[in-house]
């Protein structure tokens, strides 16, 4: 079953993923049934390190988990194309209709999540649930736990960096709604993550809190085991390609950080410019009140500057609402990516350490023990998953940035076109008077 070679699974991937949890759940009886169906390799790793014999028979699980994504890039490309025409999609998720809830203890916002799907995993064709930010947060940490070899899309920051921003203001809620929508769409589009059990529960469960509680026992254990692992091995050298990805991500995050600062600075300058324009226009009106013949032209200029101010305000609003959040998302994305890279390093380090240990005892045991082989499998699956996700991410990034930057250019063009129209419209007003004289 699960031990199947990674590359043989592209078409049946999702199903094998579905099949995976059950044998495992059976083997470790203390796990909440259905709740945490796919244990994290971190967990497995920890066990294999701690009590090898107990868990080893199931050691192949991660290979199964990761197999759909480790499929060749061809599949990714195909899916990408599918995404574009939208025909073959079978899962649609929308986040909308934010609502404010005021309780005695706290005030919070919930968002409506509507799911439509033809997948067999969904009993009904359509679901509608309400979730708040911490539910999304829960989902993300569950995904991270259960799919450690995959790149989990980032959530918008919990706290606002800008400081004094009203968390319940319409703009803030709308920006967050868009980001949450994007988050779910990215998961929906992912060939592995979209089949995750927790994701399914998140989209469909009437009472998510009940479900969350079930997982708590496991979570505490998990925390310990993760600690156990991180204290473990140290990686000697990162393979070249992953080192390159790491370097790329560092640079990428750095450049995006700069762009983010520039964009914020531009918006700040534009807002200050707007403040001045708002004063500038009316001065022409004041002046026009003094004049006879010049009154109309001056009033025209005043109105024109007013139109330009409005256009500028639209531009800054658009940039704040559409441009900045996407930049932020990608900055956070590169962080997620880096943490997956780290986990990968950890798996490799473990494998290397084990291999070394075996080498020392080579005379005693001529054959490489099974647990080391499993470990190697796991590393290779991890590598394959990561590479596939990275490629996916690169493609998404390219599309997103093309769209984002073209959008920025468009917004600026529109702004100038509006100003142009305003100024062109007053020329006849000025000239006509001139000639009439």
């Amino acid at each position: 079953m699960a031990g199947g070679p990674p590359k043989a699974l592209p078409s049946t991937g999702p199903h094998s993923l579905r099949d995976m949890p059950h044998p495992l759940a059976g083997s470790s009886s203390e796990e909440a049934v259905g709740g945490d169906s796919t244990p994290s390799p971190d967990l497995l790793m920890a066990r294999s390190f701690g009590d090898k014999d107990l868990i080893l028979p199931n050691g192949g699980t991660p290979a199964g988990t990761s197999s759909p994504a480790s499929s060749s890039s061809l599949l990714n490309r195909l899916q990408l194309d599918d995404d574009i025409d939208g025909e073959t999609r079978d899962l649609f998720v929308i986040v909308d209709d934010p609502k404010k809830h005021v309780c005695t203890m706290e005030t919070y916002i919930t968002y409506r999540i509507t799911t439509k799907s033809t997948r067999v995993e969904f009993d009904l064709p359509e679901y509608s649930v309400r979730r708040r930010y911490q539910d999304f947060d829960w989902l993300r940490s569950k995904l991270e736990e259960s799919q450690p070899t995959h790149l989990i899309p980032p959530l918008p920051e919990k706290f606002v960096v800008k400081g004094v921003v009203d968390r319940f203001s319409e703009e803030f809620v709308e920006t967050r709604r868009k980001a949450l929508d994007k988050f779910l769409k990215r998961i929906t589009d992912h060939p592995v993550l979209s089949f995750n059990e927790h994701f399914n529960v998140f989209l469909t469960a009437k009472d998510l809190n009940a479900y969350k509680k079930q997982g708590i026992a496991l979570l505490t254990r998990m925390g310990e085991s993760v600690k156990h692992v991180t204290g473990g091995y140290k990686l000697r050298t990162r393979p070249l390609e992953f080192a390159a990805i790491g370097d790329y991500l560092d640079m990428f995050a750095l450049k995006l950080g700069t762009i983010d600062r520039i964009a914020q600075r531009i918006i700040k300058e534009e807002i200050e410019y707007l403040v001045e324009l708002r004063e500038y226009g009316p001065v022409y009106s004041t002046w026009s009140a003094l004049e006879g013949e010049l009154a109309e032209p001056l009033e025209g200029v005043s109105a024109c500057i007013g139109n330009c101010s409005t256009a500028l305000e639209e531009l800054t609003d658009d940039m704040t609402e559409d441009f900045l959040p996407v930049l932020r998302e990608y900055i956070l994305y590169s962080d997620s990516m880096k943490s997956v890279l780290k986990k990968r390093d950890q798996v490799q380090a473990e494998y290397e350490a084990k291999l070394e240990a075996v080498a020392l005892r080579k005379e005693d045991r001529p054959k490489v023990p099974a647990d080391v082989e499993k470990c190697q499998d796991r590393m290779e699956c991890f590598n394959a998953d990561l590479k596939a996700d990275m490629e996916r991410w690169q493609n998404n990034k390219r599309q997103d940035f093309r769209q984002l930057l073209m959008g920025m250019a468009d917004k600026n063009i529109q702004y100038y076109e509006k100003c142009l129209m305003a100024w062109e419209s007053i020329i006849p007003l000025l000239q006509e008077k001139q000639e009439a004289k």
């Binding site: 790329y248 640079m251 990428f252 450049k255 700069t258 762009i259 520039i262 600075r265 531009i266 300058e269 534009e270 200050e272 410019y273 001045e276 324009l277 004063e279 500038y280 001065v283 022409y284 004041t286 002046w287 003094l290 004049e291 013949e293 010049l294 032209p297 001056l298 200029v301 024109c304 390219r398 940035f401 093309r402 930057l405 073209m406 250019a409 468009d410 600026n412 063009i413 702004y415 100038y416 076109e417 100003c419 142009l420 100024w423 062109e424 007053i426 020329i427 000025l430 000239q431 008077k433 001139q434 004289k437």
Partner: protein, 416 residues
């Protein structure tokens, strides 16, 4: 200055009703003609026929500015800017212009010319000079009066000043003005010989009298009111415009950072690299385009500044008008009553006669002054409309540039 006011009586008259060169040219008629023509170059044509200074149509230009060092009256080393004034006469037959005079003047000499005109033509709205020091500047612009851009703008301003005088129906006939254009040495001395300084002092007295005017002419009160308001609105406008320019400059220049970061980013990207790189280039272009835009806008600001200074000139004008009115009510007479009784009667007679003539003179003054103000108003409306049009055209070209740059950038992005 054959008619140079040697006799003391004349020096007390604030208004030389007969323009120096052309005693019998009807003022109203000249104003009318001039207002219709208005071009800067036809200044000499219709008004100068019997004035040997201006037999031909002439062109005036301030063609060059030069930094110089010299010694001032205190024998101290100083640096100043001199401006080359060229006058050309235009032959009507072939339209060719011939250089007739070219000489250097410095700003202080322009100032002297203007002060002289102010004193001798109290009923005329004398064109203002460009500012001595840059005012209403935005941070990028240098406030240094040796700054080449500032000197260049001042050169244009000074030329404009001379053209305005030359196109004025009365001022263009002034001999001192003519000598200013044609006689390099001794000009200052000639000006001082006119004794305008003395006149200026008596004008000050008249200014002091202003506050005692009981029945000021409503038209002039309104005018005073208008010019005050105009002055305040234009200076407010200029202040805000400078801040607007500052911010606009900021917006554009910050975009320049995109140029750098896109280019750095492009180095680590494969497919996106080229698009980013060239989009970065367009951002650089965008950032640097603001320099020219704001340089052009400065010209608009200068046009507004001229009217700011005109408004100041108007305020002074109304003051002296009031001073004139004061005289109509015979402020001097009571003082004379203090004199000996014997002389008193004579003096009263004299005073009455004086009063009569002043009344007449005053009425004439008001009429002429008003005519000039009317002329000024028309000029103002015309000029400001042109200024507004050119401002709108500037904005349009800025928008077009912006659209162009962003369209280019978009094209690059779309190839990513």
């Amino acid at each position: 200055m054959e008619q140079a006011p040697r006799d003391p009586e004349r020096q007390l008259q604030p208004a030389p009703l007969e323009p120096l060169g052309c005693p019998d040219a009807g003022l109203g008629a000249a104003v009318g003609k001039e207002a219709a023509g208005a071009g800067e170059e036809d200044s000499g044509v219709d008004t100068m026929t019997h004035n040997n200074f201006w037999l031909k149509k002439i062109e005036i230009s301030v063609s060059e500015a030069e930094k110089r060092t010299g010694r001032n009256a205190m024998n101290m080393q100083e640096t100043y800017t001199a401006y080359l004034i060229e006058t050309r006469s235009v032959e009507h037959t072939d339209g060719q212009s011939v250089l007739t005079d070219s000489l250097w003047r410095r700003y202080s000499e322009f100032e002297l010319l203007r002060n002289y005109l102010l004193v001798y033509y109290p009923h005329i709205v004398v064109p203002p000079l460009p500012e001595k020091r840059a005012e209403f500047v935005w941070h990028k612009l240098s406030a240094d009066n040796m700054d080449p851009d500032f000197v260049e703008r001042r050169r244009i301003g000074l030329e404009n000043f001379l053209l305005r005088i030359a196109s004025h129906p009365i001022l263009c006939r002034d001999k001192i003005f003519y000598l200013f254009l044609t006689q390099e040495g001794n000009w200052k001395e000639t000006v001082n010989e006119t004794g305008f300084q003395l006149k200026a002092d008596s004008r000050l007295k008249a200014l002091n009298a202003t506050f005692r005017v009981k029945n000021p002419d409503k038209r002039f009160t309104d005018l005073k009111h208008y010019s005050d308001e105009l002055q305040s609105v234009i200076s407010h406008l200029l202040r805000v415009r400078a801040r607007v320019a500052d911010r606009l400059y900021g917006v554009y220049k910050v975009h320049g950072n995109y140029g750098r970061v896109f280019s750095e980013w492009s180095a680590i990207e494969k497919e996106m690299g080229d698009g980013l790189q060239s989009a970065g280039h367009h951002m650089d272009v965008y950032a640097s385009s603001i320099d020219d835009i704001l340089e052009d806008e400065e010209h608009y600001a200068d046009q507004l500044k001229e009217y700011l200074f005109y408004a100041e000139a108007l305020t002074v004008r109304t003051f002296s008008l009031k001073g004139m009115t004061t005289k109509l009510f015979g402020q001097e007479t009571p003082e004379q009553r203090e004199a000996r009784i014997k002389v008193l009667e004579e003096q009263i007679n004299e005073g009455e006669q004086q009063l009569k003539s002043k009344n007449l003179e005053g009425r004439e003054f008001v009429k002429n002054a008003w005519a000039d103000i009317e002329r000024f108003k028309e000029q103002k409306n015309r000029d400001l409309k042109e200024a507004l049009i050119s401002y709108a055209v500037m904005q349009i070209s800025m928008c077009k540039k912006g659209i162009q740059v962003w369209t280019n950038a978009k094209e690059c992005f779309s190839k990513m």
